[in-house]
Every structure is written in structure tokens, then in C-alpha cells.
Amino acid sequence: MSPILDHLPEFWQGLLVTLELTAASFAGAVVVGLAITAMRVGPVPVLRAIGTGYVETFQNLPLLVLLVLAVFGLPEIGIKAGLLATSMVVIALYEGAYIAEALRSGVNAIAKGQGEAARALGLTFGQSLRHVVLPQALRTVVQPIGNIFIALTMNTSLVAAVGVVDLTAAANRVNLVEAQPIPIFVGAGLAYAAVAAVAGLVTGRLERRLAVAR
């Protein structure tokens, strides 16, 4: 255990960056996912096509490719932001596609009659989405979104490849000095597992609390 205990400050700093990255990217991904879902279930064919195109593009490109392209490609066309900020945006855009798919399945799970009733009451498309469809849809997809959150947490480890010192990069650096890969990476793995376990517990509770009695 000593290779970890001797380097607790480095691990802690790396864990903070990982948590920061996870929280910010997840928040961004939820916003992107909601917008794309609204486009995909909406009545405008062009927006539906764009929504589908977005999801297909981001689900079919590896996150590492997107990160490397954004970090090294965008400065070539004059767009340059910090490494952490770039990574947050890229992960948010990428995971947004997955959230959009989860939300869409939630929307599809809502009985057609709900949307028809909302329209019969005179609600606009936006109003029926906001007040009738999405609140029910979100409740049915708490668990899938929790899974996406966990996957996102694990995916943040890829930012180590583009210069962000997250938990994985911190573990790599400690290993460089100590040459004890097994305890060091098991330690880092336990920290990721702890984040995932907390996320799993929270989604479990949320799901029970928000379940729609049918």
C-alpha cells in the first residue's frame, strides 16, 4: 500500500480533476441530450434528421479520436481553449448522444394518448414536451442515465492521453517513480469503483422515489 500512501496528494489532486470533469461533462451532456431528443421527437423533419445525424456521428466515433481531433485539430483552424475545457466539451458532446438515445427510448415508452391528450387540451409542442411527456419519460430512464453517468466517469480516463492530469494520469506518474503498477492501478481502479458505486446507489434511490405508479 505504501506506493499509494506516499503519494496521496497526487492521487487526491487527480481524483478532484476526474470528479470535476465528470460533473461538468455530465451536466453538459444532459443539456445536449435534452435538446437532441426534442429535435428527434419533434414535428420538423429537418430537425429530426439533424438529431439523428448527430447521434449517429457521435456514437460511431471513438471518444479518443474526438479528443485528439479537438485538442490538436481545432487549434489549426484558430479555435483554441484550455485542455480541461476542451475535454469537458468533447465528452459532453459525445455522451450527449447517448443521453439523447436513452431519453428517446423514455419518450417512446410514454403512451401515445398522453401526447394526444396534451394537444387536445391546446398545449403547444413545447408545452406538451415540457409538462407532459418529458417528466414521465425522465422517470422511466433513471437507470439507463445512471449507467451513462458511470460510463462517462470511466471514459474521462481517456483525457490522460491529451495532457489532462486526471486520476489515470496521476496514477501513471506515480507508477513512473515507484514502478509498482499493480498496487497503484488497483488503487486508482478502486477510486473509480467508489465513484461508480455511489452513482449506482443514488440512481437506485432516485428510481424508487420517482417511479410512476401505473
Binding site: A35, I36, M39, I50, G51, G53, Y54, T57, L61, L66, V68, L69, A70, F72, G73, L74, P75, E76, I77, K80, L83, L93, A160, A161, V162, G163, V164, V165, A169, N172, R173, N175, L176, V177, E178, A179, P181
Partner: protein, 308 residues
């Protein structure tokens, strides 16, 4: 509409990426020093071959000879040291040629299989027997020597600093304090910078090409890396320059399985032989010697470093 723009941007980026790749590829053949010389074959023809008496029965050497192939842990992307030539598929460079020379010594022909290893996996690959030896700028340290054995050192290098041309005020590692410094992930540069310039902010990227790109895009003011790599980079790319002289001494060893003293002695004997016969010097001339000025350096004394 925002998302349309994003899709367009992604498409533009991928096109950029593609053109950038093909650009380096076509330039690669002429810009990579040493690639055109192709003298590796002649050197290996004159490389020594072990006598039957040296290949002790039941030893690791005998196992390799029976297999007919030496399995080497190494890189495929280190210019001048161990880089795969995209045109021929051959791996070329100082480390790669030494691997071939060792294969010639054991088997009689330069038959080598390179397993792409990384600094996190080398110890494991050696101890579980996936590779026979590691030739990969493997700096000998006492910590590592607890898990693997090192023959050599066979070469001595050091870390130095590269900056974008025109940068002033950086000439020694102490000047890096308070600045953002680029380093290769999992290279000894990271602990060295932390020691000599504790206030420097270090950012790391996976490979040398990414680090150079990051330096050119101003992600950091300086790039700390092994001198040979930096000299090769600066020769390929006139927008960066190397400042000062190496500030560390890194003895490279040949990684061997821990505890196999017979094999270690065998490899050390081979090193002595190729150094006294001038094969080592010729391999150096064909690779690192194409960018470093002057004659081949004197190889470091075998066993001169703690851990070797």
C-alpha cells in the same frame, strides 16, 4: 442549426486530420534521417555469431535459438531508435538494429519479432515471458532492477529542453519554474522537472509527435525529452530548437527477465564483443549518428550503473 455547424466542424476536422497524416507520411521518407541510408543489412552481415559452446544447453539462449526468432519488447514510433518504416514495414533505428544484432548472435540471422511495449507494461512482459528482451530506451534505475535484470548499459543519453524558435529566457531546467512544460507521458522527464523546477506545471501527451504538435500550438513553452529525440525533431521541423545541453544522465539497459544470470552474462558478453568489433559504432552511425555531430561516442562501461 448549432448541431449542423458541429457536424460540419467534425467533418472539417477529420479531413484536416487525414491530410495532416498523409502529409507527414509523404514527407516521412525523405525527412526521417537515417531512413534512406539502408545500411543496416551490411552491418548485420558483419555482426558476430555466438559459437555453439556459448549457447548452453537448457538456457534461455538455446530456447530462443530453437524457436528461430528473438522476441523483443520495443517501440514502433521512436524516430532514430525504433521506428517502423511505413513503406517497407521494417523497424529501423538504434534500438531496433541492436535487437537484430542480438538475434544474429543467437540464431545466426537477424530474425526479430517486435512486441510493441510501453513503459507501463515492460516489467510485466518480461516477467511473464511474453518477450525475451526489451530494447526501448529503458533507463536503468534501482527500483526497476528489483523487478527485471538489466544488461549493459549500452548507451547513455540525457534530457534536454526544446522550445519554439524565438523563445527567450529558457536555457536551463531552473528557468522552467512557473511555466507550463510539455513532457512525454511515462518518461523520466516528469520526475526530473518536478525535482529541478518544482513550480513548473507539467502537461503530458502519449507520444513524441503529439508533444511537438502541442509545443507548436503553444500548449506549453518548453518540451523536455531525451536529447536524441529532440535533435531529430528539430532537424525535421525548423520551427523548434533545442536549447542548452543535457542536464541528466540516463543509462539505457537491455531489459531481461529477473534472476536469469546466465542470460545476462551472455548478453553482456555480446555487448562487449560488438563494441570491440565496431558493430555497435556502425549501428550508431546509421541511426543516431545521422543527426548528432561527430564520431560515435564511447559506449558506457558495462555494469557501471547501480541496478545493472
Amino acid at each position: 442549426m448549432v448541431s449542423m455547424k458541429r457536424v460540419a466542424a467534425v467533418a472539417a476536422m477529420s479531413v484536416l486530420g487525414l491530410s495532416a497524416c498523409s502529409g507527414t507520411d509523404s514527407a516521412g521518407s525523405s525527412a526521417v534521417p537515417g531512413a534512406a541510408s539502408g545500411g543496416g543489412g551490411d552491418v548485420l552481415a558483419s555482426a558476430p555469431v555466438a559459437t555453439a559452446a556459448d549457447i548452453l544447453p537448457g538456457s534461455t539462449m538455446e530456447k530462443i535459438k530453437k524457436r528461430g526468432e528473438l522476441i523483443v519488447g520495443g517501440s514502433l514510433d521512436a524516430p532514430l531508435l525504433s521506428q517502423q518504416n511505413p513503406a517497407t514495414g521494417e523497424v529501423e533505428g538504434f534500438d531496433a538494429d541492436l535487437g537484430k544484432a542480438l538475434a544474429t548472435y543467437i540464431i545466426g540471422k537477424p530474425k526479430v519479432k517486435i512486441v510493441n511495449s510501453a513503459s507501463e507494461t515492460r516489467e510485466a512482459l518480461l516477467s511473464n515471458g511474453t518477450v525475451d528482451v526489451v530494447f526501448q530506451t529503458y533507463t536503468i534505475t534501482p527500483e526497476r532492477a528489483k523487478q527485471v535484470a538489466f544488461a549493459g548499459p549500452y548507451y547513455s543519453s540525457g534530457l534536454t529542453i526544446a522550445v519554439k524558435k524565438g523563445t527567450t529566457g529558457i536555457s536551463s531546467p531552473q528557468d522552467l519554474n512557473g511555466k507550463t512544460v510539455i513532457a512525454g507521458a511515462n518518461t523520466p522527464a516528469i520526475p526530473e522537472i518536478q525535482k529541478l523546477a518544482p513550480q513548473a506545471k507539467i502537461i503530458t501527451f502519449g507520444g513524441d509527435p503529439e508533444c511537438v504538435q502541442a509545443l507548436k500550438q503553444d500548449r506549453g513553452v518548453a518540451y523536455v525529452q531525451d536529447e536524441t529525440l529532440l535533435v531529430a525533431d528539430a532537424k525535421k521541423d525548423p520551427s523548434i530548437q533545442v536549447v542548452g545541453s543535457p542536464f541528466t544522465t540516463d543509462p539505457y539497459g537491455i531489459g531481461l527477465p529477473h534472476g536469469d544470470d546466465q542470460f545476462k552474462k551472455f548478453v553482456n558478453d555480446w555487448l562487449t564483443k560488438i563494441q570491440s568489433q565496431g558493430v555497435w559504432q556502425k549501428i550508431w552511425q546509421n541511426s543516431l549518428g545521422t543527426v548528432v555531430q561527430g564520431a560515435a561516442p564511447t559506449p558506457p562501461a558495462i555494469g557501471s550503473v547501480p541496478g545493472s
